[in-house]
Symmetry: D2
Subunit: 289 residues, 4 copies
């Protein structure tokens, strides 16, 4: 019937439109079918092996970072995280050590031969950060800080981009496109939970986002289990889910003494907890052939 033909045209139009749009994006798997490998000091993120990034929420002192670095290195972990510039809801909360924090990270990285990742919150800090860190993290609150994305896209340094507090997957992909459109394809996407009505967890880990992002883009995908849940007791089960669903890696916060941490004390693992956690995960980690 006429009506049917009309509907078919309509459907074809819809598909055509959607296809066109995705095809246009540089981060899209339609544009580049093979996986992008992000090279961080020789660690090849996205090569099929599953990895861990751990470290304290905030850099507080050389001793604190070094202690976590030693524990991480002992476990074979190569990438350390630590916040120097902390975006905090209140201006009166601890704002991080700033450049001094980056210097501590650099010193620890050199001493332990680790790569370090730290959040940068404004374009003006990007240049200076290049001297100290191996990966620029762009945090959830800045996922649509487009000037920051463009600045991170204009330098030769891997970027870990966190999903916004309430960003759709489509917005997340477009944020990555802002970076890649400036010439930098060394991007790791990081699911870190989204804001919902549920209050049992700090955010709701959107685990389905992992296979969707892997399917829609050619970029590696991490899961930050600490910020997704905000609960120490959920770090192990959610990390298992992340590994099982095919994430390229898991990020978690580790602190020598969480009870006195200057931020996020309720959700960081102490070192013995971290070792137990990792040992329970190791049997299921995919190792590259």
């Amino acid at each position: 019937t006429i009506q049917h033909i009309f509907k078919e045209i309509f459907k074809a139009g819809l598909e055509l439109q959607e296809e066109d749009h995705s095809k246009a994006l540089l981060v899209s798997r339609k544009k580049k079918p093979e996986d992008t490998i992000v090279d961080i000091k020789g660690e090849k993120i996205g090569d099929g092996q599953q990895r861990f990034i751990v470290g304290p929420c905030a850099v507080e002192s050389y001793e604190q970072v070094a202690e976590v670095a030693a524990a991480a290195k002992k476990q074979g972990i190569k990438i350390l995280r630590g916040g120097a510039f902390k975006p905090r809801t209140s201006p009166y909360d601890f704002q991080g050590l700033g450049v001094e924090g980056l210097q501590i990270l650099k010193r620890v990285a050199d001493e332990f031969d680790l790569a370090v990742i730290s959040e940068i919150v404004t374009p003006a800090h990007i240049e200076e950060a290049l001297d100290y860190i191996d990966v620029i993290q762009i945090g959830a609150r800045n996922m649509q800080n487009f000037e920051l994305l463009k600045a991170a896209g204009a330098v030769k340094k891997p970027v870990l981009l966190k999903r916004g507090l309430a960003a759709t997957i489509s917005e997340f992909i477009n944020a990555a496109e802002y970076i890649m459109s400036q010439g930098n394809d060394q991007i790791i996407l990081c699911e870190r939970g989204i804001r919902t009505y549920e209050t049992a967890t700090r955010n709701t880990l959107d685990i389905s986002a992992v296979p969707i992002l892997k399917q829609e883009t050619h970029l590696p995908v991490f899961v930050d289990v600490t910020h997704s849940t905000g609960r120490r007791d959920l770090l192990l089960p959610t990390a298992k889910a992340a590994l099982a669903i095919g994430a390229d890696g898991v990020m978690a916060e580790v602190h020598p003494d969480p009870s006195v941490a200057l931020s996020d004390s309720a959700q960081q693992m102490a070192i013995p907890e971290f070792e137990k956690w990792l040992n329970e995960l190791k049997p299921m980690v995919k190792v590259n052939a």
Copy 2:
């Protein structure tokens, strides 16, 4: 200081209150530390083994159900699902075959020696349903239909309770309590995704709910991967995540010919897809010792 003592009292008060409340619930693990086993025709849900419940979204005909039953049985699956009373957003959508649907399920159950589960939507149908089905499903839209919960609690028949469209975990647990407070402890909780702003999936699978529910209650917990995602391409990765995080089982929709299904055609697996799906999951399924 005085202020400190005061704060301690305050915190103690907070904990006391929360503890009191959880302690009071019959479904709480504080009330009963050991796992509840739900016995469905000899299948002991919650005994540590991970199981599957599959079947069509809606019962459409004897042939349709029998075909899925044969495929399920071949794979060693013991529990079949199928909707007879379908709660649909529009009154003009297919509403299910009603009692005739239950009769089809019963006939197939007998012929294939399977247990069957079907949704009941109103207290008046509970009695009649007892003759036909092995598990009463209470759907997401009825999670706070308290009269239905009470009616299901008053009979001797296992109940699979789905989380409401936008229910908190706490409300979900209280809904189970409505059932158990009437004397029926044979309850399976089923996470099936929650409503969020994200539109890439039909609902957002709240995978963290699984360990929280296992921790807070003594009841077995399933994950319905079909309704969580609404996408056939996500059934495999999300099922892996559900098994890895410790769910007692996974529920998914299977239809002999999804493209002509009277409901949810976009998200059901055809039989060969289902077999492939299950084969990929089997290596990671926990089998009871």
Copy 3:
């Protein structure tokens, strides 16, 4: 160009499809352009005049209801609300007086010549309720209890249908269609806030839903300011917004002594507060010419 023509066809198809669907609904303004008037004991809801429905959250005693009835009547209000069957999150919270509550409402209605509205939670109660109340309320938790909707649609009694906790406007309209498709067009829609991530209010009042519902359907629309906000200090400003945006009326909870109320004590107005509230609203109420 060809592409343009194609896009035009596509757009036309989209509009056609949407139009078709809305046209089919009996509650749609496309089906019936003029406003439906719901006649409640002579009060003609939807006639352009803005009205109030007040009363306690739960019926607790004859004296309690009578006291509110007297205050309401003094202010010219003709419709009293009061819950007899209370759907509560926990089975251990006060569940309402049941039929005894309906009898109290009936007695007060007769003595004060008021109409009364009360929530019915299961189809089996509908018949009995007809003897006692003038309007059947279907609550948020039961907005997609389709058997209840159908039962309410099959009797000759006005229905006040509340929007579900996390229902879309489209689902809300379809729920009303379940009632009207059974023959009952005496339906008042009631916006009562939706579930969001915001915790400053109990729910988030979706004020835009009012003009959308007025535009899409021919049914009168009320706003329940008590459940939308859950805060006594917001009852006045939100009622002003509801009246200004064109609601047919406002519903609010009034209790002789809120501090001892058996439910919702934090959000009900005491009688003097209620009188002050109404006096501040009166100048802006639209009165029918």
Copy 4:
């Protein structure tokens, strides 16, 4: 009883804690009970009079802005909006004219003796923007771009701060505190809808946020009806609600020819629509005595 006394202490502790926190904030009404007046070229926002800010979504040309300016001025409006730096989801969407856009705004402002407001998206642009605009707008996506907030707080120029896409009211207030803690108290808060599951509107206008913000802070509060709803047909009813609930003003987008607008074409008013809209609102606008 002991238990009761304990609970009372507990409650008191809770209140004390909350009170303490709010008291500390400079933007809090507890810190400064009287309303803050934001002086924009002599317009005293927050003085009790309700005002309008209108203009195109994006500055496209001198002619376009001048045409809207003429229409606004004719209606007695003193403040014009227009985007020069446009934060867009996709890097391939129109990004605004940048500094050229600010120059156009400045020229129009001078010719028509209007004040102009425009969004600034990164700290590095703040200094330059001071020469061209009268109010710095900080957009929803940058509500927690803390470096931008601090930069805006360090200059002597009024700031209009929009609520984040999914920001809580508490986070919104803290974002304002970032500005004020740097010395700038000339802040207008702007509710612009929040992200929810509802798709009938672009965002969900959280109208209750207006009285809460007025109560919690001493800052003036505007409502952006265009971005809240994303629907031209809702601009009038939502503006009525905003005025009725006590907003200090309403912001809306006006474009000489919305159908060819480079952004947001579906939601801007053409000039005759704008005049009709304003005429319907004028009778209810509160004018300062």
